[in-house]
């Protein structure tokens, strides 16, 4: 009973991003610095919206994985790991090149007590088409 209520509450869409729509922000898709690349983070699903894990990029908190939200960071070319921690800690590793744009999509899977939010590296075409329905969260690091 308790478990069922918890799952139900965690699945409700409160806790979704409230910022401006991607189309209103219209961010550049590439970094303005020629030595850097741009990484977009986004989460399309409202499932488990109450769960908003911190997003760690090479150990640095760069934002939160908020349902229906997106943010981006610019970083020098190199190797990167994105880690989200809920019940479990999951990571995605990838290479970022100068002038490159990468998309990390956050998915939700069922967990023991709560959903697991984990990052996935997706094709640029997929990221571009899916991120338009998300709202800017501004890389909230609080």
């Amino acid at each position: 009973m308790f478990f069922g209520i918890f799952i139900l509450v965690a699945s409700l869409p409160f806790g979704c991003a409230t910022g401006p729509q991607f189309s209103m922000v219209q961010p550049n898709m590439v970094s303005e610095s020629p030595d850097e690349g741009r990484i977009f983070f986004y989460r399309t699903s409202a499932l488990g919206a109450a769960i908003k894990p911190a997003v760690m990029l090479n150990g640095e908190k760069v934002g939160k994985a908020i349902a229906k939200g997106f943010f981006f960071v610019d970083r020098p070319a190199g190797d990167y790991e994105v880690v989200t921690s809920t019940e479990v800690k999951r990571k995605v590793s990838f290479v970022l090149e100068k002038g490159q744009t990468r998309f990390i999509k956050f998915n939700v899977s069922m967990g023991f007590f709560a959903g697991h939010v984990y990052g996935e590296l997706v094709d640029e075409s997929v990221g571009m088409s899916e991120i338009v329905n998300c709202k800017y969260t501004g890389g909230d690091t609080s």
Partner: protein, 132 residues
């Protein structure tokens, strides 16, 4: 009686939470072997996949090399040449997800190269690549 049952259920649930809290959920790992990566002499070598190529990747997360996708030589390792995708993302996934490149030897895909981990993930059986 019903109240007692509810209490017992709740205590059991809390007990399981304590036990499970100490468990490692990260159960499935990608097995890779560290390898030596050498930059290529020929930076222009590419190929195009002529037909869709399904791959039995580790942990049953199957992958597809898409028909028409382009692959560029970026280096060599002892197991073969390493090709990076130019127009699709390739990853190897278990509990964690790793960006991956193709390792090709004599026209066959023999495994994945993980550029961040600098490791080689072998396939159980080589796959012939239809190249253009």
């Amino acid at each position: 009686m019903a109240r007692l049952k509810n209490r017992i259920s709740f205590v059991l649930l809390v007990g399981v939470a304590f036990v499970a809290g100490g468990c490692a959920f990260d159960l499935a790992h990608v097995s890779f072997e560290p390898t030596q990566f050498v930059q290529p002499l020929d930076h222009c070598k590419t190929f195009v996949v002529a037909n869709d190529v399904p791959i039995d990747a580790p942990c049953n997360y199957d992958r597809l090399l898409r028909k028409g996708s382009s692959w560029k030589l970026v280096g060599t390792i002892p197991k073969g040449e390493v090709y990076k995708p130019l127009d699709q993302v390739l990853t190897v996934e278990c509990s964690n997800i790793f960006e991956a490149y193709l390792v090709v030897s004599e026209g066959h895909m023999v495994g994945f190269y993980l550029p961040v981990e600098k490791g080689f993930v072998p396939l159980s059986k080589g796959i012939e690549l239809p190249m253009e």
